[in-house]
């Protein structure tokens, strides 16, 4: 396989990860990831044809319960941790341009 972790790839992944990396951080991230992937490629030695990907250890799927409100109104308590709040709501920068 050719080189996967190019500068463009690091830029792309940092968009997915919502991280702003400095140039030196990008360089380090590229090197780290390259090295990890080289190691992870060891998995290709294993023949996994026909093996189902195992997301969960136990055969439980949808776990349903009654949709009943149990936790009461904890608005004030939740907002205490907000970086910015106003009138009982979270405050965020403008998201829609005029």
């Amino acid at each position: 396989m050719g080189k996967i972790i190019t500068d463009e790839m690091i830029d792309y992944v940092s968009i997915l990860a919502k991280l702003n990396l400095s140039d030196s951080e990008k360089k380090a991230a590229g090197k780290d990831m390259e090295r990890m992937l080289e190691y992870i490629d060891m998995l290709n030695e294993l023949n996994t044809d026909g093996v189902e990907p195992m997301t969960h250890i136990f055969p439980i799927s949808n776990v349903f319960r009654e949709d009943r409100e149990e936790n009461g109104d904890s608005r004030e308590k939740m907002l205490e941790n907000a970086p910015e709040a106003r009138d009982g709501m979270y405050r965020v920068p403008k998201t829609v341009e005029q």
Partner: protein, 494 residues
């Protein structure tokens, strides 16, 4: 006997008998923390007054007969990724420096129901990502056995606090070995339960398919009692598994006659410190002498567990940590232009290096074009690893081996080379991938006077088998050294 040298069970007995009070027990712990924690840095947050008030309230309930359980009034420390209502919970990250949870984790509620008194929140690797407790925003914890060494991680603060006698027991969490490996490095006993046994509600998520909360204590009995206190089927955690029984202490019997113990040959290959190998084999001999059938076998696939683990754990971490965006809680950057810039800057400034490294790797393996080659490949490998364990547990009740390839490394040595640090998890990660319970308990000291850990793994829901084997070994071994006594005696070996 000094209060802080007692096990949790013994403290509980004394409190029930009225020879000491819950308040005295809490004071003793808080005093020990004051005396030692400047040096060790096991705790991120201790709220002395609140703990003493709680202890007084518990004491009243003990006197009225309302609380009569074996752990009522016993002080306990809780890892700082487990939410405690009204008590700051940071995950050892700048991101959550000021976070005060509006609710408690289910495991914490269970501790409170048992009458235990939370004395503080312990240090850890940031978001539980690391094997040394050095990635903490609040600085590293030091190993009480040798202050120039790491306590292991990520539950390093909990394990070091128990080893140093700052508390008799603690809660930790284990995603890839984060209870068992620091227990090994600190000479304490730690148990990772079967996946789904302890509710993850209120545990700040790292790798949700792997994370489990578990007890850390001075002996096997305390671990069993604590597990009884915290294990439950919880509707608030959709991966919580109902179990047939929640009794674990009846397994505390000195009897391994006929118990079938397998030792994976593949655990004793290259990379294992000879002193660790010797101590672990001696422990196996002891179990054999007491009637267990012990034999070696080939587990297979051991070397594939770490690469599969880091793909899965990083993928889940990148998704779980997407919630930290500077909107509802946590750190928000000061200056920004628009919403997306705020997200990015808040995350970049709030997360440390190791966390960003794993979020990047996780985002990559989940990205379109690489998802099949990396993420699905890892999940297929996980299925094969699980099968290898299924085969092993058809023949054996318990799998015995080391918990870590070496004793505690020096501070600063591990972070220089992350991949090398990851390789240290070789004996622990597969239990998380396969959902298995595992216990680590001390089985000797190396030539440097550092503790060596013995790991016993069981099949899913078979905690009682590993508890019985561990308890039997412990009865023969006797009480393990305390860090200070070993230093005085110059590292006595078992």
């Amino acid at each position: 006997m000094e209060l802080m040298e007692m096990t949790a069970a013994r403290l509980g007995e004394e409190i029930q008998a009225g020879t000491i009070t819950a308040v005295q027990a809490a004071e003793a712990a808080l005093n020990r923390i004051k005396e030692k924690d400047k040096e060790l840095n096991c705790f991120i947050t201790v709220e002395e007054e609140a703990a003493l008030e709680k202890a007084a309230a518990v004491q009243k309930k003990i006197e009225s007969g309302e609380l009569s359980g074996p752990l009522a009034g016993v002080p306990i420390a809780v890892k700082d990724n487990i939410c405690t209502e009204g008590l700051r919970t940071t995950c050892a990250s700048a991101m959550l420096n000021d976070f005060v949870p509006p609710y408690s984790a289910e495991a914490v509620k269970k501790l409170e129901k048992a009458g235990m008194v939370i004395i503080g929140k312990t240090n850890m690797d940031e978001f539980a990502m690391g094997s040394t407790t050095e990635t903490s925003f609040f600085g590293p914890t030091r190993n009480p056995w040798d202050l120039e060494r790491v306590p292991g991680g990520s539950s390093g603060g909990s394990c070091a606090a128990v080893a140093a006698g700052e508390c008799s027991c603690a809660l930790g969490s284990d995603t890839g070995g984060s209870i068992r490996q620091p227990s090994s490095f600190c000479g304490v006993t730690g148990l990772k339960p079967t996946y789904g046994t302890v509710s993850r509600y209120g545990l700040i998520a790292y790798g949700s398919s792997l994370d489990q909360i578990g007890p850390i204590a001075r002996d096997v009995t305390d671990c069993a009692l604590l597990l009884e206190a915290i294990a439950s089927h919880d509707k608030k955690d959709s991966t919580s598994m109902p179990r047939e029984e929640y009794d674990f202490s009846s397994a505390l019997q000195k009897d391994v006659k006929g118990l079938k113990i397998g030792i994976p040959r593949d655990y004793f290959g290259e990379g294992l410190d000879p002193e660790v190998a010797e101590a672990v084999r001696k422990a196996a001999d002891i179990l054999k002498e007491h009637g267990a059938c012990v034999e070696e076998f080939d587990l297979s696939l051991v070397e594939y567990a770490i690469p599969a683990y880091y793909v899965i754990a990083s993928a889940e971490a990148s998704s779980n940590l997407a919630r930290f965006d500077g909107v509802k809680y946590g750190y928000r950057t000061q200056e920004f232009e628009g919403l997306h810039d705020m997200y990015k800057k808040s995350r970049s400034e709030g997360f440390g290096e190791e966390v960003k490294r794993r979020i990047m790797l996780g985002s990559f393996v989940l990205s379109s074009g690489y998802y099949d080659a990396y993420y699905l490949k890892a999940l297929r490998t996980k299925a094969l690893i699980r099968k290898a364990f299924d085969r092993a547990f058809e023949k054996y009740d318990v799998i015995l081996g080391p918990a870590a390839p070496s004793t505690a490394p020096r501070l600063g040595d591990s972070l220089k080379d992350p991949l090398k640090m990851y390789l240290g998890d070789v004996y622990t990660v597969s239990a998380n991938l396969a959902g298995l319970p595992g216990i680590c308990l001390p089985c000797g000291l190396d030539g440097k006077g550092l503790p060596i850990g013995l790991q016993l793994l069981g099949d899913c829901f078979q905690e009682k088998k590993i508890l019985r084997a561990a308890y039997t070994y412990e009865c023969v071994r006797g009480q393990f050294y305390q860090p200070e006594s070993s230093r005085k005696e110059g590292g006595v070996r078992l």
